[in-house]
């Protein structure tokens, strides 16, 4: 390990994800996760024992079990003891923690992974438990209902309409056709209203899946990857928790996170947005000032595969993978958590000139 904080540059050097499916009930969490961990390590030639820091994201509420992340630790070889941490959030926030750890110089490499199995429970009900327990959770408003309130607010404001939302759905799922990991791809009917104004096509598929990323600092990143995706900036912000306090048609937290991450300093060519509902893409495009020239969600986005707790990390992974492949020079990745884009993380990734 080195101790050279300050101007350390950290890069995403490898990314792997599962083929996301409606149900993987034949597998425990660690059984679902392990192939992804092996794949991401194989891409760098690293062994679990070579990793300086490991950080994961998952949720006990999906598993229906306390301290559920400890079972997944078997998959990273947690004995003899490793340096490890966990966030009860999407893996994008685990990546943020790993990035800060690498910045301090305490570690040169980090393994970040996250996973979620939605299939054992009813994810619409499960997500109600993250709401304000005094005023909101006792009413059991489900995740689709809250997203629908946001969609109606946008329609009323003239920011979008139902055909425009259908076009967002269609564009994402068409892009997903080229991505072997996605769950919902190609032409998908908009379908009936789930909670009006949102139709089934405006909503993400419910699925199980996992993702993993390896970060490395400085020359170590160049050793491990031919074209590292350098994290030029990363920041996350949260809004007031009261839904009625916020302007649901805007996302000031995304804008501020993007500003602090340096997203507005130079244009990006690619944006991977974590917008599980079509209307949220409208909000994010506006907050991030994305022009028509930016390729948005070439992976298919969360409308094509939305493994809860992994979908945000996948956005960073997909953006990085485009840089690894030389398809992007400067990409923005966004992750969200909570109802109606309550918490937002923005990372700016860049390749080196080729």
């Amino acid at each position: 390990m080195t101790s050279a904080p300050g101007d350390r540059q950290i890069a995403v050097v490898a990314f792997a994800q599962t083929v996301h499916r409606r149900s993987s009930e034949e597998l425990s969490e660690v059984e679902m996760l392990m192939p992804v961990l092996h794949e991401v390590l194989d891409r760098t030639g690293l062994k679990t024992a070579d990793i300086d820091f490991t950080c994961s994201g998952s949720s006990d509420y999906l598993a229906g079990r306390a301290f559920s992340f400890t079972l997944a630790l078997d998959g990273v070889g947690a004995w003899p003891p490793i340096s490890e941490s966990h966030v009860e959030m999407d893996g994008a926030w685990a990546l943020y923690e790993a990035w800060t750890k690498l910045l301090t110089g305490d570690a040169d490499t980090a393994l970040v992974y996250s996973y979620g199995k939605s299939s054992p429970g009813s994810v619409r009900d499960v997500l109600t438990r993250q709401l304000d327990p005094y005023y909101v959770a006792p009413l059991w408003p489900d995740s689709v209902a809250l997203a629908a309130l946001q969609a109606q607010a946008l329609i009323d404001a003239g920011d979008t309409d139902e055909p425009a939302l259908a076009a967002v759905a269609s564009r994402n799922r068409e892009a997903a056709s080229a991505n072997p990991h996605t769950q919902l791809k190609g032409p998908v009917a908009q379908g009936d209203y789930l909670v009006r104004p949102l139709r089934t096509g405006d909503c993400p598929p419910i699925g199980d899946g996992a993702a993993a990323v390896i970060l490395a600092a400085g020359d170590r990143a160049r050793d491990l990857c031919a074209h590292p995706a350098w994290i030029r900036g990363i920041d996350h912000r949260v809004e007031a928790h009261g839904l009625g306090v916020r302007d649901l048609t805007d996302s000031p937290s995304t804008r501020l996170a993007a500003e602090r991450a340096g997203a507005f300093e130079r244009p990006v060519d690619t944006a991977e947005l974590h917008a599980p509902f079509t209307a949220q893409e409208v909000v994010l495009r506006k907050a991030l000032r994305l022009g028509d020239g930016v390729v948005v969600n070439p992976s298919g986005g969360a409308l094509a595969a939305n493994p809860i707790m992994a979908a945000g990390l996948i956005r960073i992974g997909e953006a990085a993978a485009r840089i690894h492949r030389g398809e992007s020079g400067r990409a923005l990745a966004h992750a969200t958590s909570g109802p109606c884009l309550q918490q937002n993380l923005v990372a700016v990734l860049e390749g080196e000139p080729r």
């Binding site: 034949e26 660690v30 229906g64 009413l139 009261g242 009625g244 306090v245």
Partner: protein
């Protein structure tokens, strides 16, 4: 591969939550059909009220009454109400800005169909018949075409304030233990104990979870272990079990780590058939099954000589 096991799993808990001064006043107010907001330093009125200004994080306690009538700021039509939601018939979710408030409250709006809702429509609170000091004291909102209701001038002082709520939560799951643990449980139904061997370090894990926690690689080679084993360490329990399934276990009793023969990881179980103060490290034990049980009820001494310390010291 045999089918994985599945079983219903219900997680249910009555969370008891205490209220701060502002939340207490608001929820007590609902019990008394009074709606209170809180005023921020810059003069805005927040309903529902919070204890800290969402912009400045300043503590705020300046309660002010608002009207039970208001305006829908956005809505969504819920044609299929789910368990626990305010109404069992189709309804609109609505954010409602009550007259006198600057922010909106989320609740249900009782209207016959989506054509009867629009942003900007006027509504009023329909109170629940029985009120306890909870957000559900508002049964829902209903359309209202009368004039703006006038607040009563309430100060937010109550003789008998509510100081807490019980927020019951229940989630239903279908639990599946996955491939490795399914194989373990299926073997137990034949009174056999099956672990899995790590292809890298060759250790046998019981119960198996499909991964070697040392090497981080998948395990799949099944190995039958036991039935006999060695007590590696133990403790004496002096607290009577509260769970109904264990009420007949007298205290004190011994709970032990048991290394089954052939296993590289100790599992735990109760030791019976021997006075509690005669249990020792190295004691050789065997499982005792009861009729219809899915796992051993306890372990008892086999009568063999104690195992040599060197044979199990790595498993402590």
């Amino acid at each position: 591969m045999p089918e994985v096991l599945k079983a219903p799993l219900v997680v249910e808990f009555p969370f008891t939550r205490s209220l701060g001064p502002v939340q207490s006043a608001f929820l007590t107010g609902l019990r008394e059909r009074v709606v209170l907001g809180v005023r921020t330093g810059d003069g805005r009125t927040l309903v529902p009220p919070v204890e800290y200004d969402p912009v400045t994080a300043e503590e705020i306690r300046d309660l002010t009454e608002v009207a039970p009538t208001g305006t829908v700021t956005t809505w969504a039509w819920n044609h299929a109400p789910r368990r626990g939601q305010p109404l069992t018939t189709p309804f609109a979710w609505a954010l409602v800005r009550l007259d006198g408030a600057d922010t909106a409250l989320l609740h249900a709006l009782d209207v016959p169909g989506p054509d009867a809702v629009h942003t900007g429509m006027r509504v009023r609170i329909r109170w629940a018949e029985e009120r306890t000091g909870a957000i559900t004291d508002i049964a829902c909102f209903e359309p209202y075409d009368g004039s703006r209701a006038q607040p009563t001038g309430h100060t937010g002082e109550f003789a008998d304030p509510v100081t807490g709520i019980v927020a019951a939560a229940r989630l239903d799951y279908t639990y599946s233990p996955g491939r490795a643990q399914t194989a373990y449980i299926n073997a137990l139904s034949g009174r056999r104990t099956v672990g899995e061997r790590c292809p890298a370090c060759r250790k046998v894990y019981v119960p198996p979870r499909g991964a070697c926690p040392t090497c981080g690689v998948a395990t799949s080679e099944q190995v039958e272990v036991g039935p006999r084993g060695t007590v590696t360490t133990f403790c004496i329990v002096n607290i009577k079990a509260a769970h109904t399934a264990n009420l007949d276990i007298e205290v004190p009793y011994v709970y032990a780590h048991i290394a089954l023969d052939g296993a590289d990881l100790a599992l735990h179980g109760r030791i019976g058939g021997i006075p509690y103060d005669e249990v020792r490290m190295g004691l050789r034990v065997e499982p005792v099954w009861t009729e219809g049980a899915r796992y051993p009820d306890h372990y008892r001494p086999t009568g063999e000589p104690d195992a040599d310390y060197d044979t199990y010291k790595e498993l402590l």
